[in-house]
């Protein structure tokens, strides 16, 4: 990932040292969140955080935690159905934000006759298919090229927890243990707890299990790791403590 | 401060004396009542009142599990009981128990003839107040186009939706469909339905008693006014919407609701559904007809005030009676008023009291 060992902290409006801007010969430069390009060639941070350079992918972004979820195309999110109209569900991604729309046919195998019937207050795991500043975001629960759900769709049962956007990002990393340093889920699984989770980039985590207690343990483990900034060792200790407490 | 002794009210007397009897012996200690000792009060109306004319909220109707609960009732699992949730009369249909409330807002049913008022115009439909809990809707596709043309509704129709019906206008329609939440969808695709003009609107209670419109064989009929000696028109149309909204208007031959029986054959639709069906302009109405419309309105008001049902029979009889009464007292505009004592006399005469 980031090749720079040194942490580079930026504030909005700071100048960025030219050496930090990756210069890949072929790939175009990709700017991630927290940066702004002022033509012709100035790059300015817009938020406070750690500047991260990925020379391989020729990309540059600011890593931070906090704030409100702002939808971006491709994000996996957990939404709550606010109301349904003729062809759409209107889905809330975070409190007080405008609703995203989810076409009723954007589900696996959905036709006019077989589309899922979601009540107000139901949860869906979806992917952001359209997001720009001028329009309300759009979601889909199906991979439009393969027609497969890929695990997306209504979330039935279980419990929803709010977590920080940073924690959601860590949990969604391909190697959440190595890179994200979250081990609670693996630890709990190793102790024989059976549960399933879904993590939304919008700071939501859904946990389900046959056993109510397991859901409670998983929820508390992740929330306490998140709120307490726990290290890997602390997380392991927490898991042992919670499991002991609840049994 | 002087001690005030209030006379006990008549209605209150039985329960009150009962209460005093029960507690007289221990009225000087505060142990007369306690929270747990009072469970016998629970559902006091269980069996004792079986002879009552009506059931009231909270009253246990039956504990027999063979019955199914219908409208106006709810069940509790332990012990299994069907309990009334409204005040009204009991009705049973096979094994279904339901309670018809003494009075309630109109509950739409498919096939009902209703009179409504346009409240809101939307892109492809109107929203209509029919006196129900929810506004009914009338889709653009559910009306007759002027001239009776049969075709899909186009964008042009959508743009000039207000030329058909606009806010505040009245119409008569039939309930075609019901949504899960009880909201009605109307249609006016018949010659007997459509925009209302040349008359007067009145609202009485919908469903249930106390002088409401009752569901009857015919909700719309024509009243012969020749007996009143009216010149010009000899008939007026009366539409008794099941929802308690009523329209009384000048009779027009071959048009409007009363054309029901002698309605034109299907081939004549094109000719008769002229452009004027969506006109909001009244025709000229002879003074006599206007007077008789007002009299009819007075009759219905009198029926309502005296707690009588409103249907074709009562209105027709009432109208004849009113004409007789007016004749007896000599002509004059005063004879139109049928409130108070006069209304009561009319009502008494009708039910033969």
């Amino acid at each position: 990932m980031a090749t720079d060992s040194e942490m580079v902290f930026v504030l909005p409006g700071d100048g960025i040292d030219a050496s930090l801007i990756p210069t890949h010969p072929k790939r175009p430069l990709r700017l991630g969140p927290g940066l702004r390009h002022i033509p012709p060639s100035t790059i300015v941070p817009t938020i406070a955080g750690q500047l991260v350079t990925d020379h391989k992918k020729n990309s540059l972004w600011v890593e931070y935690n906090g704030g409100r979820y702002i939808p971006a195309v491709g994000d996996l999110v957990i939404g709550q159905v606010d109301r349904s109209a003729a062809d759409f569900y209107y889905v809330a991604l975070s409190d007080y934000s405008s609703n995203a729309s989810l076409p009723q046919l954007a589900f696996e195998m959905a036709t006019k006759k077989t589309r899922p019937n979601l009540a107000t207050g139901a949860l869906v795991y979806a992917r952001v298919s359209l997001a720009n500043r001028h329009m309300d975001p759009e979601l889909e629960c199906v991979n439009s090229s393969t027609g497969k759900a890929d695990g997306l769709g209504p979330l039935v049962g279980g419990m929803l927890y709010s977590i920080s956007l940073g924690m959601a990002r860590r949990l969604l990393m391909r190697k959440s243990v190595e890179e994200g340093r979250v081990v609670v889920l693996e630890e709990l699984g190793a102790l024989g707890l059976a549960f399933e989770t879904a993590v939304g980039r919008n700071g939501k985590m859904w946990v389900n299990s046959e056993d109510t207690k397991t859901v409670l343990i998983v929820g508390r483990a992740v929330k306490e790791t998140d709120e307490g900034n726990l290290t890997v060792d602390q997380q392991k200790k927490l898991v042992r403590k919670l499991v002991k407490e609840m049994s | 401060m002087p001690i005030t002794i209030l006379p006990p009210s008549v209605a209150q007397e039985p329960t009150r004396s009962l209460y005093q009897d029960g507690s007289q012996s221990d009225s000087d200690s505060d142990g007369g009542v306690d929270l747990d000792g009072d469970v016998s009060m629970g559902r006091p109306t269980k069996r004792a009142r079986r002879d009552e004319a009506i059931v009231t909220p909270g009253e246990v109707i039956t504990e027999d599990p063979q019955w199914m609960r219908g409208h106006g009732t709810y069940t509790i699992p332990e012990p299994p009981q069907i309990i009334s949730s409204v005040a009204g009369t009991l009705s049973k249909t096979n094994k279904l128990l339901s309670v018809r409330p003494l009075r309630a807002r109109y509950t739409p049913e498919i096939g009902d003839l209703v009179v409504g008022r346009i409240v809101e115009v939307q892109a492809r439909r109107w929203r209509v107040d029919v006196g129900a809990a929810l506004l009914a809707q009338l889709p653009l596709s559910a009306i007759n186009l002027p001239g009776g043309i049969q075709r899909r509704r186009t964008e042009t129709d959508e743009l000039q939706i207000r030329t058909f019906f606009s806010e505040g206008e009245l119409l008569v329609a039939e309930v075609q469909q019901l949504y899960n939440d009880g909201a009605a969808v109307l249609h006016t695709r018949s010659l007997k339905y459509g925009k209302l003009r040349n008359g007067v609107f009145m609202a009485v209670t919908g469903t249930g008693g106390g002088g409401g419109v009752v569901r009857a064989r015919r909700q719309a009929f024509t009243l012969d006014i020749s007996s009143s000696g009216a010149e010009g028109g000899e008939k007026i149309d009366v539409i008794l919407g099941v929802n308690g909204y009523i329209w009384i208007s000048k009779h027009i031959e071959g048009e409007g609701a009363a054309a029901e029986s002698s309605g034109p054959g299907i081939t004549r639709i094109e000719e008769s559904v002229g452009l004027n069906v969506y006109s909001s302009q009244n025709d000229s109405i002879p003074l006599d007809t206007m007077r008789e419309i007002a009299r009819t309105r007075g009759v219905i008001t009198a029926l309502v005030e005296n707690g009588l049902r409103v249907d074709e029979e009562m209105v027709t009889k009432g109208y004849q009676e009113a004409v007789e009464m007016a004749r007896g007292e000599g002509e004059g505009d005063d004879s139109l008023w049928l409130g108070g004592e006069k209304g009561k006399r009319l009502a008494d005469a009708l039910v033969g009291r």
């Binding site: - | 505060d30 006091p44 909220p57 949730s85 018809r100 003494l102 008693g209």
Partner: protein
Amino acid sequence: MPLDTSTYNLALLRVDGRRWNDLRRLHGQIRTQAAADGSSYLEMGNTKVMCVVTGPSESARRGGAGGGAGGPAASSSSSTATTPNGAEIAVTIVTGGFSTVDRKKRSRTDKRVQELQAGVAKALAGALHAHLYPRSTIAVSLHVLSQDGSLLACLVNASTLALVDAGVPMTDYLVACTAGSTSGHGAGDEGADPLLDLNGQEEQELPFLTLGTLGATDRVALLVCESRVQVGRLEGMMAVAADGCGHIRAALDRIVRDKGAQMVREGAIAKGESIGMDLD
């Protein structure tokens, strides 16, 4: 402040001559307003309240546009209680300036009035089967004509009557009654008696509470106490008030039944079918 009620111990009679467990004269009528969906008039002693119910009718849409003549939208001065996926219950209380001796006008934005409104609305929401009317509003408008104690109780009872008249389904009558205690707030005073259905003067001088129950049960929908009283007295006062609620329920029921019987007699409604058949 001289305690006029202090004479109670002499004859065990209250200022108006009642014993501890006497209700005041209760007089009520339903169907007082022909134009309303439901209406009532209720007197509990000299506390007199009028109630008009409109609805259930379609709620004005969020965002303002539309709505209209379908029914009076909840005005900003009313307090509303919402039920999940059901009708919204909007309560407005208007207090006539002439309802009290000092003729003080209470504005509708007065927090005390708003609290009363919220109390009545939420209590009704727990008793009505509002889930039968999604997207609707049931507007309850209460007018206080005269105040002489037990106002909240009278408001609740009048609303119940009017809602029965409007044919809105409910689990049972929601009834309310006050109970007080002849004790001061001190811990002592063991001989203190509970009192039922306080009038205005007693409310001024004695600790009291208003209790609302669902029918003649111990299920408490409403409990409001605004005076200082020993925690040990609570149970006794609640017991007396609950008992009073049972009697008020019977009284309200009688009012409704009398009206129903009259309507059946006059032929305004078809006679109900006999229930005797549930025996076979």
